[in-house]
Every structure is written in C-alpha cells, then in structure tokens.
Amino acid sequence: MNINIDVNHNENITEVTVGGEIDVYTAPELKKELIPLSEKDNVEMIVDLSGVSYMDSTGLGVFVGLFKNVRAHDGQFKIIGLSSRLKRLFEITGLADIIDISTKMEGEKK
C-alpha cells in the first residue's frame, strides 16, 4: 500500500511521475493530488507511469477523471511509460483510442 507522486512544473508543462501501487487504497491520494492540477485552462499534463507495479480500475478512474478535466479546460493530456499489462488495460477499455498513451518517453533517456 505505497504510492509515490512527484509533480514537476516545467514551463507550461505539468510533469507527474507516479510509482508504486494504484488501487482502491492509494487512488484517493492520487486523486487529491492530481485533480486540482487538471483544473487549469490550457494545462498540458504528462503522466509517467513507468514506476507503477499495479493498477486496478479505481486507479484507471483517476486517469479518466484527469483526462476529462484537462479536455474540458482545452488542455493536453498524455500518459507515458505504460507496462504491457497497463497498456492492455487501456486497450480493453477503449481509452487507448482517446488518450494519448505513448509507450516511450520523448527523447528516450536511459
């Protein structure tokens, strides 16, 4: 039951790095931290989930909420660093078609 949330504001881009497990116990914390960030106009948000070992549907719900909020504020939303298991979750749910989920970071760092 641990989660790490790291937020970086880089010019106009909000970079969020999440690590650990996102489940029914940790999702509320994630929601509390991130939802306010998504409520700004033209916000550009990139979420890196490469450190996430487990995510259930409650976690997915947080990202659905973030996506809806960002879209309502004419912003951009992107998720990177999805493991194959998480990628499958986004594909099954049809979210992969409406949320930008690159599998690699831009300018790939090693």
Binding site: V24, D56, K68, L95
Partner: protein, 339 residues
C-alpha cells in the same frame, strides 16, 4: 449503587486474602473481578479509588499522607484511560450498527438485482458472482426474449462496496426501462452510456458486455463497452480464443457508438464471460495467467456449466488464500451437443 458496594466488599475480601497468604488463587479472583467490572462499565478510576480507601482504612498508620497523595496522580491518569476506553466501547457499538446496516443493504441489493439463470432447451448456462466485500459492484442479468433468445448483461462498476452498488442499481433501473425493441446489444450500450455520462462522478465509469443468443440459428450477437474480453471455446478443435470486441467504457463520451459483433455457435461450443476480478486474481507469485484460467476451465469442461463456474471460483479462491481483492463474476453459456 449496590453493585458498587458489592464490588467494594468483594475487592476488600480479595485484597485481605492476598495480603494474608499471597496466593495465586487471590490474584485469579482479582482477574475475575476485573472482567465483572468491565461488563458493568465500571471505569478504572473507580477501582483505584476503592483500593486507596480500603488501604487507608486497613493501615491507617502505614498508609500515610504521602502514600494517599500518590494516588491522586494514579487517579488522574486512570480517568484518562477510562475516558478513552468508554469511547472505544461506543465506537465498537457504532461499528456493529454499521455492519448490521450493511448486511441489510446487501440483502436489498440481492433482491433488487436478482436474476435467474434461464433454463433453455438446447442450452446449458452457469453463473457465479461473489462480492469482495458486502456489496457487489459486479452485476449480471439474464433476459429471455419472446423471439426465442436469451440476453445477458455483465457489468463492472469501478471501485467496490457501497458506491459501486448504488451505481449498479441505477444501471439496472435504466436497463429495465428500455423498451423491448431497443434491446439490441449496441442500442442498450448506447442508451446506458448516456445515462451514466450524465449521472456519475468524474472518476467513475462502468464496463459492460451485452450479448444476445438467438437459439433458432445459434448466433451470438454482442457488443462491449470496455469490458474484460470474453472467451470462446471451440468444441471441434478443443481450443480457446478471445471474443473480439472493442468499445469505450460507459460514461466517458456522450455520443459513443458501439460496434456489433456476431459469432456462430456450434454444438459443444462455449461462451465464457467474466469480470476483471477473474483476471486480476492475485496469488503470492503474481497475477494468475490466462493459461492457468483456461487450464482450470478445461479441467472441468466435462461438467455442467454451473459446476464449471463454481469449481473455477473455488480453485481461484484457494489460490488467493481466500482473500478476494475484487468482485468476481464468471458466466458460461454452452450450446448442448444434443439438442
């Protein structure tokens, strides 16, 4: 008042005995007395006070002022313990009340969402749905139509417990209110999508699979709103394949369109539907692999559909040390070999 007097004389007796012979027997009596006092809600400071009074009476010389005064501190400390203890007792009581309330709510939900597995000639259907907690966020429903078909809805609300269950009741109501001619898989999903989109919280969504089995021509037509993919068992080749289905979750976009899929079902073939509680089963070694699930089904394949789903559930429950992390629903529809 008279219990307190009894308590005091009992305490005096025990104390006198102990001071006379320092026996284990007296100490044991003391322990019994404390259990009795707790049952009667006697706060700890009361016992301390009894002790001090008796001591002062029995040993007026030795139990001097300093000794007496030292008890002021002990009393003060014990008042705070009693304070906390009584709050704890009340919380336990409140918890009991909540538990009872939840049990009643779970029963209401069972009645509200109850569905009967239909008995259709030529078909063998089995279904199991087990909540991780009191309330079930999974949902399935069978409808027998006039034109010799069976429809099945299986849905999973994000999250568990009470909020999920409330949401499910809304879905059930919306589905029941749809007119008969709008109950094709794609129309059902499109209608429910609008209901959910308008009514739920930002981070809430629902996955749903809706299919109709036409018994006359053995065509299974279905559509999926982001639901865990179903499986298909081909009796002829004895192989499994995924039931292809793409579609967005309910409640994300207002005007989502859903695609209709069709599958011809041959004698002995099976349609296997589930919630993500099945694929997300976690053991100490990690998630259960799809192959393990298929192997479990295969092992039981000679049984009736209802026995297959029950046996698969039992095995997965055991693999997870009887700790369900998510609501679990598994449904199997099989076309009988002889019909």
């Amino acid at each position: 008042m008279d219990f307190r007097q009894k308590l005091e004389s009992k305490y005096r007796e025990i104390l006198t005995n102990y001071l006379a012979d320092r026996s284990e027997q007296a100490l044991y009596q003391g322990q019994k007395l404390s259990r009795n006092a707790i049952e009667r809600n006697i706060p700890p400071e009361e016992i301390v006070s009894i002790h001090r009074n008796i001591m002062a009476e029995m040993f007026p010389e030795k139990f001097n002022d300093k000794m007496q005064e030292s008890f002021d501190i002990l009393l003060e400390v014990m008042v705070a313990y009693g304070f906390a203890y009584r709050e704890h007792q009340n919380l336990k009581h409140i918890q009991q009340e909540l538990r009872t309330e939840m049990e009643i709510a779970a029963n209401v939900q069972k009645t509200l969402l109850g569905t009967e597995v239909p008995c259709k000639k030529g078909m063998d259907i089995g279904a199991i749905s087990v909540p991780a907690k009191h309330m079930n966020g999974d949902y399935f429903n069978f409808v027998e139509d006039e034109n010799n078909s069976v429809s099945i809805a299986i849905a999973d609300v994000i999250g568990k417990g009470l909020p999920a269950a409330l949401c499910m009741s809304m879905i059930k109501y919306a589905m029941d209110s749809l007119p008969e001619n709008r109950k094709t898989p794609t129309l059902v999903l499109e209608n429910l999508n609008r209901v959910v989109e308008q009514n739920v919280d930002l981070t809430m969504f629902i996955t749903m699979f809706y299919g109709t089995y036409h018994i006359d021509d053995h065509i299974f037509s279905y559509a999926s709103a982001g639901h865990e993919p179903g499986l298909f068992y081909h009796a002829e080749t004895q192989t499994f394949s995924e039931l292809p289905a793409k579609g967005l979750l309910l409640g994300i976009e207002k005007n989502t369109k859903y695609r209709k899929y069709e599958k011809e079902v041959m004698p002995g073939d099976m349609i296997i539907l589930m919630s993500d509680g099945v694929t997300e089963s976690r053991t100490k070694e990690g998630f259960i692999e799809r192959e393990e699930l298929l192997a479990l089904i295969e092992k039981n394949i000679h049984l009736k559909a209802q026995n297959i789903v029950q046996n698969v559930y039992k095995e997965l429950e055991k693999l997870q040390d009887f700790q369900l992390r998510d609501d679990f629903t598994l449904i199997i529809l099989r076309r009988n070999v002889l019909s």
